[in-house]
Structure formats: structure tokens, C-alpha cells
């Protein structure tokens, strides 16, 4: 009955290993540069710095939304409501401004609605253990329904604060950025910091790695889970404000399908949908990839509607397969 087990442990330093964790992000970056290079070599105007700036200007709100989505996906969840929440925020802002509320108050209200909805969805997901897909799908219907309920046609924004925020150009030499881009950069920075340096951020990764373990390790699983949906709601709300800057209006049908773009950006950026692995920087790259694909197609200017779709699909395919082949040689650790 005795157990004499074995002594000593061999030196394990000889084992071959790769810095796998950051690799997908690096590969994305490299492929993005290649794509940009192709654009520059094909179209002269592509080399303007302003083209790069435009990618940021035109995708800022998507980026902010995708950053929020990154939090959710890192926990292994998903948030389908983002597109509708973006539209709802823009719609509510436009409607309130039209009714003559002061811009500061409008901003406050608009920035509260998204997180509140996110919070409620998070609570439902956590306490009633309903799958995030369904809860956020209901949230998506709800927010979109609210948009058309507020107004079935678009509402222009004429408020002075909004217009100046929208049309202010921050000159950098010949080129310019918008206020929206600065806000976007700030959101990205805060998000990256949160994920890397706060307990909340690290708990997000832990839950994505293995929720049961996280629970048994005594981490605040429920609180964190609710927090990520709230954060996603907040990001969507900020995205909605940015979009209302961008379009100076609220339209009930805007940002339809944005959730798919956001999810695509997050995943292209190397984040695992099962959760637990990924970076905000990857998401930034993912959004840029989508933006550059769109820009390439516009610059080309010969594709008709269906070819546009097919080419977008084809470029996505090429990018993802290349990333896959270069990035993960071995099946990356699955944490189902």
C-alpha cells in the first residue's frame, strides 16, 4: 500500500516554445501593412497621410464599439445589441436636442442609456443564466424598436456644440483629424489600460479562460460579467455620440449590422471567440483592416454592388486564412 513516488524533476528548459500569445496580433499588423502597401502601389492618392487619417475618422465609432465588444468577447460572451444601441444613442441625442435640451444634459442622458441597457442585459445574463446571444438579441430588437418609436425618419442635429464638435478640424500639416478621432484614441487607451492593469481587466481574462475556475478561485464572476456588458453599453453609447458627430443626425436605420462588423474586427484582431485571449490593440488592427478593405474598394471605383460584396468576402478570406496559417501553427489552447 505504500507509495514511493519518484524523486527529482528533469530540467525542462530545453523544451521548444514560441511566444504564441502576441503572434496573431503581429501577423495581423504585418498583413495590414502589406494591404496598405498594395493600395499605395496601385493608387497614387492612396499614399496621402490623409487617407490613413480618414480611415480613423470614418471608423472611429466602429472602433469604440469594437473595443467594448472586445471586453465582452474576452469573457466568452457576445453582444449583438451594439449597433442598435449606437443608433438609439444618436437618435435620443438628436431628439432631445431638437426639443431644445442643453447639449451637456443631452450628452449625459445619451451616455447613460447605453450602459443602463448593458447593465440590465448583464444582470439578466448573469442572474437568470440566459445565453448572452439571446439576451443581447432581445436588446438589439428593443433598442432598434425604440429608434423607430422615437421617430421613423431621421432627425437632423443643428445644435452649435454638436456641429462644432463635428466640423472642427484638427490640423496636422496639410492634413486633419476630427474630435471624434481624439475621443476614439482616448477610449482605446483607457480600455487597453483597463484590460492590462486593473483587477477588473484581469478578471475578464480569467472568466474567459474558464468561468468555473474563475468562480472557484473566488473571483467576482457575476460582477465582472455585468461590468463587461455595461462597458460594452457605454462604448456603444460613446460610439453613438461619435456617430451623431459624424452624421449630425439621428436616423432610425443607421448602424444596422454594425454588431457583425464589430465582432469581425475583434476576431480578425486575434481575439478568440471562446474568450480569454486577445488584445485591444488587435481590435484596433481589426478595424483598420476592415477600413482599409473598404478604402481599397472605393479607390478602385469599378466594382458594382455585388462584386463589392464578393471582393470584401474574398479579401476577408485571404486575410483570415493567411493570418491563420502564419499565426497559429498549432491549434491554440482551447478553453471550452
Amino acid at each position: 500500500m505504500s507509495t514511493s513516488q519518484l524523486v527529482e524533476r528533469p530540467d525542462r528548459t530545453t523544451r521548444w516554445r514560441l511566444p504564441r500569445r502576441q503572434l496573431p496580433v503581429l501577423v495581423s499588423l504585418a498583413l495590414l501593412l502589406v494591404m496598405y502597401g498594395i493600395g499605395v502601389s496601385q493608387y497614387q492618392a492612396f499614399s496621402n497621410i490623409q487617407v490613413v487619417f480618414n480611415v480613423f475618422i470614418d471608423n472611429g465609432f466602429l472602433l469604440v464599439v469594437a473595443v467594448g465588444m472586445t471586453f465582452v468577447i474576452l469573457t466568452g460572451g457576445i453582444d449583438l445589441s451594439v449597433g442598435s444601441v449606437v443608433a438609439m444613442t444618436a437618435m435620443v441625442s438628436a431628439a432631445l436636442l431638437r426639443d431644445g435640451l442643453p447639449p451637456a444634459l443631452v450628452l449625459l442622458i445619451a451616455l447613460l442609456i447605453g450602459p443602463t441597457l448593458g447593465f440590465v442585459m448583464g444582470c439578466v445574463i448573469h442572474f437568470f443564466e440566459i445565453q448572452p446571444f439571446i439576451v443581447t438579441l432581445a436588446g438589439m430588437f428593443f433598442a432598434r424598436g425604440l429608434c423607430t418609436w422615437i421617430s421613423s425618419s431621421s432627425i437632423p442635429i443643428t445644435d452649435g456644440f454638436w456641429t462644432s464638435a463635428a466640423q472642427e478640424r484638427i490640423r496636422i500639416g496639410e492634413n486633419f483629424l476630427t474630435v471624434g478621432v481624439l475621443i476614439t484614441v482616448a477610449v482605446v487607451a483607457v480600455a487597453a489600460y483597463t484590460l492590462a492593469y486593473t483587477r477588473l481587466g484581469r478578471n475578464v481574462y480569467a472568466i474567459g479562460g474558464n468561468p468555473q475556475s474563475a468562480l472557484l478561485m473566488g473571483l467576482p464572476v457575476g460582477r465582472t460579467r455585468i461590468a463587461v456588458y455595461t462597458i460594452s453599453g457605454l462604448c456603444s453609447a460613446i460610439g453613438g455620440i461619435l456617430l451623431s458627430f459624424y452624421t449630425l443626425s439621428g436616423a432610425p436605420l443607421i448602424a444596422v449590422g454594425m454588431e457583425l462588423d464589430a465582432i469581425a474586427a475583434v476576431v480578425i484582431g486575434g481575439t478568440l471567440l471562446t474568450g480569454g485571449a486577445g488584445y485591444v490593440l488587435g481590435t484596433v488592427l481589426g478595424v483598420l483592416v476592415l477600413g482599409v478593405i473598404q478604402t481599397l474598394i472605393t479607390f478602385d471605383g469599378t466594382l458594382n454592388s455585388w462584386w463589392t460584396k464578393i471582393v470584401i468576402g474574398g479579401l476577408l478570406f485571404a486575410f483570415i486564412v493567411l493570418q491563420r496559417l502564419l499565426g497559429f501553427r498549432k491549434k491554440s489552447l482551447s478553453t471550452r
Binding site: 439578466v124 440566459i130 446571444f133 424598436g145 476576431v267 454592388s305 468576402g313
Partner: protein
């Protein structure tokens, strides 16, 4: 009496109890709004009535959702079904529209075969990306979701192809033995899938792969092949749904056919009790889910709910279904009831234990 006591919790505790209750409530609400909602009559030798419409219109959704159930059971998801619907309808209608005699059965069959073949290829494509190359399903199928619709429009040149073919129309609006053919077809496919999965070992094998792919591989299951197969089946189901949808209006609209059907299908699957994480799947549940969703849509029309608020209505019902169906929600409800008397049932904790398992 005692039989009642023991059977009642078994019924209310059943996975499908609450979705069915909500379904019945929806129908009841419609009936109150307009009593003739429940009327089913024979008109021109066909069954005719709102209820028949609901079942007929949910036939394509049932098909798509069946395929989706298998994909989800393997732990995946298929966003491209809507595009496959559009492509299959487009190919079939294009071929028929080029026939000198659109009513020739042979021509229609060739068209169906061609469209079915193309769809299988699309399914194979999805399956390859997921199972062989190892791309995450949502992204792998997103590619085809975007490109496939482009493909459908390419096939139709962006136009709506109108056809005038009685055999083809049959698929969408025809009748056999007073029953709409679409219902019969959906029923047949359902039976086929049910037999294929439950009378053979396929169902269990799919569940094993979805539950733990690596363990299944080590148990000698060709997990990749099964995953691939699921996507092919999903595309095949979507193809038939595509025939139905285009035959319903005798025209192929590359842009609108099957738009957002993937969301409805996923919703149906989840309402039916299949987890998006993969593993156990429930075909019966999926069908109830699909019926529920179609009833919801039809209710909006039938009760003439203002289109501006229709989405809010839909959101409310979806939330209600999910809440009432969630074991955790019911457990909370039950506990409260239990404290005010009545025996404590030691259930409801199931979910929590799964978390800890």
C-alpha cells in the same frame, strides 16, 4: 390523483413547456383580438386560415433552423444560411427562367438539382474553413454571409427574376391532400433529419463532438468530418428553404431572400433548448422555436401592430420567453412560492452545479 401530483412537475419542468405556453398565449392573444384567427376552413379544397399561414410561413425557417441546430450542436454557428437561401433560390429561378417551357417538370428538377449542388458546395466551403483550416465558425461563415449575397446578386444581375412555373410554384404554395406542400416538405425533412440523427448514432456522435471535440477524437470519432458534415447539412437545408421562399413569390430576389434568417434560426434553436456552446441538441425544441418566431411575426401583421413599435413588441416577447424558460428564473420564482407554503422541490440548483462541475 397522486399520478397527477407527480406528473405535473414533470410537465412544467419540461424544456419545452414554457416556449409552448408562450406560443399558446400568443395565439390566444390573436384570437381575442380577432376571433376568426383560429378559424381553419377549406377553401378551393385547401386548408385556409391564419394558423395554416403561420405553419406554412415557418416551414423555411424550420428547415434553416434544423440545419443550424446540427451546426450549433457541434459548437459552431452558421451565419451564411441567409446567403445560401438567396443563392439557391437565384440559381434555381435563373435556370427555370431560361427554359423555353417553364412548366416542364424536367427543367425544374434540373434547376433544383443544380441549385442544390451549388449549395452543397457552399456548405462544403464553410465546413472546410471551420473543420480543416480551423477558422472560428462565426468568422468563417461571415465570409460567405457577405460574399454569398454578392454571389446571389451576381447570378440574378441584381434584378428580381420572375418565373412562371407551376411545378416550381408547387414547392411554395402548392397543396397535397389539402395541406400546403411547404408544410409537408418541412415535415419530411424534419423526419429525415430526426431519423438520421436519432435512429442512427449520428446524433450522439455530433453531441460528443460538440461536447468535447478532443475527447471525441481520442475515442475514435472523426470529429472534423462530422463538423464538416454539419455545415453541409446546414447548407442543404438552407437550399431547400431557398426553394420554398422563392417559390412562395415565384421570384428570386438576390438581395432580400433570406435576409436575417440566420438570426431567426439561431433564436429558434436557442429557444428550443440547444445551448450555443454545443453538445446536446433538441430538434423538437427547434421546431417549437421556429413556430414561435413566425407566430410573433404574423401576430404583428394580424394584430396590425404599428410597424414603428413592432420591434419593441418582438423584443418584449423574446425577453419573456427567455426569462420564463430560464431555470434560474423559475428557481427564484419557485423559491418564493415555496416559502409561502408548499413543498420544496430540490431542483433549480441544476444550473449552478453545472458551473461547478
Amino acid at each position: 390523483m397522486s399520478g397527477w401530483r407527480t406528473r405535473l412537475p414533470a410537465v412544467t419542468g419540461h424544456r419545452l413547456f414554457w416556449p409552448v405556453v408562450v406560443l399558446v398565449l400568443l395565439v390566444a392573444a390573436n384570437a381575442i383580438y380577432r376571433p376568426s384567427f383560429l378559424t381553419v376552413e377549406i377553401k378551393n379544397g385547401h386548408l385556409y386560415g391564419s394558423l395554416v399561414d403561420i405553419v406554412r410561413l415557418s416551414a423555411p425557417l424550420i428547415l434553416v433552423a434544423l440545419g443550424m441546430t446540427l451546426v450549433i450542436a457541434t459548437g459552431g454557428i452558421d451565419l451564411s444560411v441567409g446567403s445560401v437561401v438567396a443563392v439557391s433560390g437565384a440559381v434555381a429561378c435563373l435556370h427555370i427562367s431560361r427554359q423555353p417551357d417553364q412548366n416542364s417538370l424536367g427543367g425544374v428538377l434540373v434547376a433544383l438539382a443544380m441549385a442544390f449542388g451549388v449549395s452543397l458546395l457552399l456548405g462544403l466551403w464553410n465546413g472546410t474553413l471551420v473543420a480543416v483550416i480551423g477558422i472560428q465558425p462565426i468568422i468563417a461563415t461571415l465570409i460567405l454571409m457577405v460574399a454569398g449575397r454578392g454571389l446571389a446578386q451576381l447570378i440574378t444581375s441584381g434584378q428580381i427574376i420572375t418565373i412562371n412555373s407551376d411545378p416550381y410554384r408547387m414547392i411554395g404554395v402548392g397543396h397535397v391532400l389539402t395541406l400546403p406542400f411547404a408544410i409537408v416538405l418541412a415535415l419530411a425533412v424534419t423526419l429525415l433529419v430526426a431519423v438520421l440523427t436519432r435512429r442512427t448514432a449520428l446524433g450522439m456522435i455530433v453531441e460528443a463532438v460538440g461536447g468535447n471535440a478532443e475527447a471525441s477524437r481520442l475515442a475514435g470519432i472523426r470529429a472534423r468530418r462530422i463538423t464538416l458534415l454539419a455545415y453541409v447539412v446546414s447548407a442543404a437545408c438552407a437550399a431547400v428553404a431557398g426553394f420554398m421562399m422563392t417559390a412562395n413569390v415565384s421570384s428570386a430576389d438576390g438581395n432580400a431572400a433570406g435576409l436575417w434568417v440566420e438570426l431567426d434560426a439561431i433564436l429558434a434553436v436557442v429557444i428550443g433548448g440547444t445551448s450555443l456552446a454545443g453538445g446536446r441538441f433538441y430538434l423538437g425544441g427547434t421546431i417549437v422555436g421556429a413556430l414561435l418566431i413566425q407566430t410573433l411575426t404574423t401576430s404583428v401583421y394580424a394584430m396590425n401592430i404599428d410597424p414603428q413599435t413592432a420591434l419593441l413588441f418582438k423584443a418584449m416577447v423574446v425577453i419573456a420567453v427567455c426569462l420564463v424558460q430560464a431555470p434560474a428564473f423559475r428557481a427564484k420564482f419557485r423559491r418564493r412560492r415555496a416559502t409561502t407554503g408548499g413543498p420544496t422541490a430540490p431542483t433549480g440548483e441544476q444550473r449552478k452545479e453545472q458551473v461547478a462541475a
